[in-house]
Symmetry: C2
Subunit: 679 residues, 2 copies
């Protein structure tokens, strides 16, 4: 890089400036009535309590890891790790602060109509959406300017993964423990409606929406972003073509600038269908990204066939975003067949509903995988077929696929903006309900919430696909890097005839299964603790149910926090130690197998869990929209929704993080994989 870094840095700063402007715009709005403020304050305090408690665990772990990495491997990697972790934590903090602020203001605006409320929720989401990828792009570009060797800054990936682990997985357990706990006692036993202020777990539930949904998705995408650029840089370095080193960050910059435009064009005028401005905003961004990618290709790579082939790869990446979103929508939106069939099956009872949800989720993996595989093959073929004379076509092909992943992730700004407004709308609805603002306001927030549910489900597809592509790019980088490091020391055979590779594939394939089991049981255990606490409060203080005494919200938040950290440890230890132990015992080929195995089972499981859960949720909503709330069929669909909660909001998203965590651990510890047992 020589001067061109002005572009990604400029894009990152521009993204921050716009985010800051949006944050100021949000803060300028009146925060609402005293009652609304009280609830918002309780959520804010709860979210801070969660973050503080997490930091108490994260900081010692992070410092320890930074020292180990810095001392054992390279000091630069220790620093990179610290930068990656700190920025991710900051992004999480910003997300929580802004979403809480925007939610109470959206609730307050809900009496003034859909347009204004939507604008508040969207801009709250966009603050997060623009800040998170900017953070990632600046981190990588800055680090690379100081240490111009990608492997020496790979630690930034572990930093991103560590925080994602705590916010995405910890948050996932937190949010569903609170949600299920609140529902099990509140709705089922005490017979009080959702979001009722008499329910002690209701604030924890709202905190969970912010923690798990907004901050969690942000840290997930931040991690994918970091991992993908890192993999692309590693591959570019292996190719040894300096001009390519710049290209991934340029693609990132293009998407970022495009996302800014997409965010800015969403106004606050009156609207009937909030899905329309969201869609327009996305397609404008995508169009601009394509144009900028073409311009940057010509400027930085010239007009050769190989340059155009890499542009082609970015085009595939951009196109993949709406394709994956459409597929996901098809299986989770109540407008289409699958959700209707699930709702229909409810009349046959619990067993039918459960089976139908699982069937549809399993089937959804088909089109998803075909889209992903087509993108991988096409981008590889483009990259390798037009590799310049003298270059290694295999590495060029892999670089092409990495560019597809990068182009997909470059749109993270606009995609996250569209996603993060969901939890804000959800929270705003909660505040409207809890403060009794009336039917009209509730209708407004319900409408935005419904769209938010759709975009939330759809963004999960984006997150899984991008995690898969990020991981696949990193696996390639890992293999070539290991071959490079162990050259002349170990004979590395990554082929499927090598039993170490097969062992790795089976062990890696196992991890998503046992981690899914572990996380769902963790949520159940945590929810039971929540149930006990809510019952205890109802019993100890009868005034709570009559509305005379305020429940102890903070204790519920605390219980969910402690339980989530405890449960997440088990999965974290498995994910961190598995590649290290296998690597030391059986060497880098087994680790490559493990990484690949975890992707193969992980993405299918994650996509199945996300879509089955989302479809059950929307089948319940469909029955409610038909006005059958309270009917026998509705009761059946409520059970589906409860089963789906840990599916879609804990285990599914957690797998994204686990898949990437395995990769970042592997690439940083690669030199330790000495293969004690030579097969």
């Amino acid at each position: 890089m020589a001067g061109e870094e002005i572009l990604p840095i400029g894009a990152g700063i521009a993204s921050f400036v716009v985010a800051a402007g949006l944050a100021a715009w949000i803060t300028r709005h009146p925060p609402g009535t005293k009652e609304q403020m009280e609830i918002s304050e309780a959520v804010r305090v709860g979210a801070s309590a969660f973050l503080k408690r997490e930091m108490k665990v994260i900081v010692p772990v992070a410092v320890g890891l930074a020292v180990i990495i810095g001392a054992f491997l390279q000091p630069s990697n220790g620093i990179a790790f610290a930068v990656g972790a700190t920025l991710s934590a900051v992004a999480g903090l910003i997300s929580l602060k802004i979403t809480v602020k925007a939610a109470v203001r959206a609730a307050n605006l809900s009496s003034k109509g859909l347009g204004k409320t939507f604008a508040m929720a969207f801009r709250g989401g966009a603050t997060v959406g623009l800040a998170v990828p900017a953070m990632a792009l600046l981190a990588i570009t800055g680090l690379y300017m100081i240490y111009p060797d990608p492997i020496s800054i790979a630690g930034v990936g572990i930093g991103a993964s560590l925080i994602a682990l705590f916010i995405r997985i910890g948050g996932g357990i937190f949010t569903k423990a609170a949600d299920m706990g609140a529902d099990l006692v509140g709705k089922v036993e005490a017979n009080i409606p959702e979001d009722d202020p008499r329910n002690p777990a209701t604030i924890a539930d709202n905190v969970g929406d912010n923690v798990g949904d907004a901050a969690g998705m942000g840290s997930d995408v931040y991690e994918s972003y970091i991992v993908t650029i890192l993999a692309a840089l590693l591959i570019a370095a292996l190719i040894g073509a300096p001009e390519l080193l710049m290209f991934p960050v340029m693609v990132g910059a293009a998407g970022m600038l495009a996302s800014i435009v997409g965010v800015v064009i969403v106004g606050s005028g009156e609207t009937k269908d909030v899905m329309r401005p969201l869609n327009r905003s996305f397609y404008v961004s995508a169009g601009i990204a394509v144009g900028l990618n073409l311009a940057f290709t010509i400027i930085f790579l010239g007009e050769s066939a190989s340059a155009y082939s890499l542009f082609g790869s970015t085009l595939i990446g951009v196109a993949l975003v709406p394709v994956i979103q459409r597929i996901t929508d098809r299986y989770t939106n109540h407008k289409y067949g699958p959700v209707n069939e699930i709702a229909e099956s409810a009349k046959w009872g619990y067993a039918s509903l459960t089976l139908m949800g699982i069937i549809k989720g399993l089937q959804s993996t088909g089109p998803f995988m075909i889209a992903l595989v087509t993108a991988i093959i096409a981008s590889y073929a483009l990259g390798s077929s037009f590799a310049p004379e003298g270059a290694d076509p295999v590495l060029y092909g892999i670089f092409g696929t990495a560019m597809t992943a990068m182009a997909m992730l470059s749109l993270a700004g606009i995609v996250l903006s569209i996603d993060a407004f969901g939890p804000i709308a959800d929270n705003a609805g909660g505040i409207v309900e809890m403060t009794g603002m009336g039917e009209e306001s509730r209708k407004v927030t319900d409408e935005i919430d419904a769209v938010g549910n759709t975009t939330k489900a759809v963004t999960k597809g984006f997150a899984i696909a991008s995690a898969a592509l990020a991981a696949l790019a990193m696996i390639q980088a890992f293999q070539f890097e290991a071959a490079h490091i162990f050259e002349g020391v170990l004979e590395l055979d990554y082929s499927l005839t090598n039993p170490a590779v097969i062992t790795g594939l089976l062990v890696g394939g196992l991890l998503p299964f046992i981690i899914t089991g572990q996380l769902i049981s963790g949520v159940s255990r945590a929810a039971m603790k929540m149930v006990d606490e809510v019952r205890r409060q109802f019993k100890a203080e009868p005034g709570i149910l009559t509305g005379e005494t305020k429940p102890d919200y903070a204790r519920c938040v605390d219980i969910a926090t402690v339980a989530s950290i405890k449960e997440l440890w088990k999965s974290a230890v498995i994910a961190i130690t598995a590649p290290i132990i296998l690597g030391i015992l059986l060497g880098p080929t087994a680790v490559a197998g493990l990484l690949m195995g975890s992707v193969v089972t992980g993405i299918f499981l994650a996509y199945h869990l996300a879509n089955t859960g989302g479809a059950w949720d929307n089948a319940k909503k469909l029955v409610e929209m038909r006005g059958e709330k309270g009917s026998e069929i509705h009761k059946v669909t409520v059970v589906g929704d409860i089963i789906g909660d840990p599916y879609k909001d804990t285990a599914g998203p957690a797998l994204n993080t686990v898949i990437k965590l395995l990769n970042t651990i592997a690439i940083v510890f690669v030199s330790a994989f000495v293969s004690v047992l030579v097969l």
Copy 2:
């Protein structure tokens, strides 16, 4: 082979003779009262109708395939295919005939105490258990004597797979469609007990037990047996050591002789705990197998280190059988924690029960995989470390793993015997119930049925593990065979850096997910048809419910048969065309990836589905044993059992067959994989 083939042929014939003796012993017993005979006859007619209808589809397909394989590839492969298919069909026929006969006689004996009834059920199972592997061993040995080149008889594998497809998958759909259909209208709507003769679907349900459980498991293990020996022969041929060609069939012969002894020592004396003679019988067989393996090793391979290392591999295979059985038992038997926790969770409602069952099933994959991976690594290390001077250590290592698989499968005789008595006991119980033989008799059959449920669940673990090992052995054989065939034509890179391999892994990983979705939805659709028919009969003929008119059992059998064939086609077409299309497009490396990917996701899914389903079933039984039948908690566990039905008896077992089918298709069509799109 030069004269030594007398041993496997002798063992096969001996196995047949004992089976024939047992069949004669069974037939000598009085078939029971007129009433019992009537029911048994209805089941027999139903089972024949199922088989006949299947044959109408299978025969044209088989003839077509035989011609294609014979003409396109080699005539010998066409013949091998025909032999493999015919013998498997014959085995299925024997299974059905004998199990029906033994069931009615066991019902008749039930008034004479546990010992006699158990002996009848066990010997019925043992007839099947001894005949099926004998068929497989004779088929391979005979074919190999005529065509002494393993690749020229690989078609025998497709033959085995084709029949397994129809009997295992078709039977799996049939049995659960009938079971769920019978339960949904009978138990839930008409409020009549299970196995009530007034229920028109009850005979179909009993036919299903024979078709899906007894014949299905037999065809599954037959397929594994064939695939494993075939893979071992292919690898031995690639090593080019003639003495090794004999070894796999010798290991097969050892296990077969051992199984005969194990079967014969089970007497008909009075007993209190029928699990004890079963366990004794198994361990005696295992001990004899080890001794014979050692003897055969010394006789045929000499006393070299490499000979002993191969004996070590067979030892691992024999040990793996009880290890896998124990792990499976731990997760599905009501005596242990997991099933108790599931039963406990029922008090929290449907969602908790469903989640807990899924959690336990997912977690069970951990120890299972560790056992499997340890066996693979150890057997490979043994084989490769002690490879004789000048031999390829990789191929020797792979041969070691194949011998582990072979030793495991060599015990199929005794394992199948212990398994197949389950459905006989189940059917006997049905006959006792339907003919109102009274409390005492029912208690006897219930007790045997309970043990049968345990052995059935445990044998599923055996079937999955052996399918996995068979497939892994065949994948290795496929890779080396393809490299051999395309030498100088295509550069085959099976490594994880090749995008064709990655594409294959992802597509292969997808197959088990979509096929599971497809099969579960197929069962649901078929069950709905059954429900419609039962309702129609109740409505059209009110005399049925009062017991005055006999229901039309045959129509229900017919509906289940037609539906099962229709539904199985979709999965079959996917499984057959996927490797062929991918192979033609992207070549053998992509196919190797596909085969491996299907194993990686397939075994985890299969084991999870089998154990989750089995655990739900036994959680329900546990609640019943506590005398809480009819309680709210019992109702919840009944739902779990219904969800688990297609899990454990359709989708789970079907994946075994699919994984192997992919392999047999790949190995036979390998020369067609010309790689149109060169990446």
